[in-house]
Amino acid sequence: MARLINRIRFGRGLVLLICGIYFAVPMAASLWFSIDDNKGGTTFRAYTELLNAPGFTDSLVLSLELAAVTVVVLLLLLVPAVLAARLGAPRLRPVIEVMCSMPLVVPVVALTTGIIGVLRWGPDYLQDTPLFQTIVAIQDPKFPIVLIIAYVLMALPFAYRAIDAGLRGVDVVTLVEAARNCGAGWLRAVFTVVLPNLRSALLNAAVLTVALVLGEFTTASILGFTPFSVWINSNGKSDGQMSVAVSMLSLLIVWLVLLLMSAVGRGRKAARS
């Protein structure tokens, strides 16, 4: 028996070791690559020049704006619908579920093809209608609304799952009934009773969405906009070292945000109990 346990421990250690190497080496190597001056020394040139690189701030700001707006739009659309399905119209639930799974089926490249197809209707068929102006307006390179639409769609499945998982742990129907019996109106019940209970689920949904938007490349690049990820790519073709530096930085940022979120969530749970 002891030998068996030893063997299991050994096997586990080996598996973790191999996987650890596979996942750690590229990161360590990239970190080294980004500060290697090719003469055996180190330099932080890539990191200091980063801030002054043309387009760095613009693209980063655009990405952050897109992320923020996407989160707001997504939650405003999704939360009322999900709550309505729970509270008032259970028959809505399968509809929402199907709607929120569909974007998973369609690869992002294919979705982008469809979006381009729709955008082409503008010059092709709608030249003289007000819809044409709309189609032009949503492609404003300063703030491409069309990307928001695409990102909300892409984030829909993940956000829905996060919120649905949160709702599973809370008996919303009873909570709302109790609040209503105490004389609270619907709005008050939702804002002061339901939403605070869903805080960590909403937080999760928001984090997933932000991570998705900050890393999204396909749609933005094909449609010809320049958020952060597209900038990294085009910039990386000219300065390899700097692009690796940015890549490491973006990975670090996402990681920190996620760790912070889970720490906040755990702290709250601990405080409550």
Binding site: G11, V15, C19, F23, P26, A29, S30, F33, S34, L76, L77, V79, P80, A81, A84, L87, G88, A89, L92, V95, P103, V105, P107, V109, A110, L111, T112, T113, G114, G117, V118, D124, L153, R180, N181, G183, G185, W186, L187, R188, V190, F191, T192, V193, P196, A211, L212, G215, T218, S221, I222, S229, V230, S247, M248, L251, V254, W255, L258, L259
Partner: protein, 326 residues
Amino acid sequence: MTTAPTPVPAPASAAHSGGGATAGPVTPATATATTAKAPRPGRRRTGGSRAWLAALPLLLFFVIGFGLPAVAIAIGAFTTSTDAPDGGGTFTTDNLTGSLQGAYWTALWGSVKLSLLTALIATVVGLPLAQAVATSRFRVFREAVMSASGVLANFGGVPLAFMFVATLGNSGEVTKKLGLTRHGWNLYTFSGLSVVYLYFLVPLLVITITPALEGLKAQWREAAANNGATALQYWRHVALPVLVPSLLGGFVLLFGASFAAYATAEAMVGSSVPLISMQIGDALSGNVLVGQGNLALALGLDMIVVACLVMAVYLPLQRRSAKWLA
């Protein structure tokens, strides 16, 4: 839970998420009032019909954001494009047949091959890793690996490509240290791309399979041990049969993720490895013959068909695994 914040959200919600406000028969104005009124009878039923209104913005958004592109693909794939000699809009199956021939067929097949290979390797590698992590005694370690997996699984894309270029590319650190180019290593090939894809596929499998592994009851293992089963027999006759639907489901999910991946390949190999997503990107950038503008839409349709097949396999499997691990 104080009364202070209520005046603030009330007007805001009336303006934006109007659905929330109309979910019940009470108007926003009376909803914020704090007087203790007994709920009127029959409220739930009337609320039910109005609750649909709360979902209306999402439905509308979905129809416009998802429905229109879907229609555009469906129509575009079967009609000639506007730059065609006949002015466009006539029914044709040329786009579809064209998208399944020559370079496009090679790319589609290349994508399927790459996805099958990487999904298979990631499943085989990821299962022992997930098991090693799930049965670890250290809670902090488990949580750290899970959160790391969450990050890495979504880490596909441009940064990943650059990271591997810096590591295993022609002038990458590891390549230089170990002199890998002399042994015929080249990152910018099919196998190089597979190594890169595993970097986000393995964590993705760990995330998807861990709940199933945690659902394996300790009693099953004990029962097997009490009946004299070895660890191997336990896995062969108890654990694996329970895990098979989850594993297959995970495999299919990985296939889908790998099949749809675009950014990593685009940033790393461009179109030197034939992949369907690269071809679509090319075709959308106008890189097609005159009159074939709608070919990209047909390629998109091909991709959706493959993805639908994948989902048709995945959903029943997921239901089956949920039955055991509830």
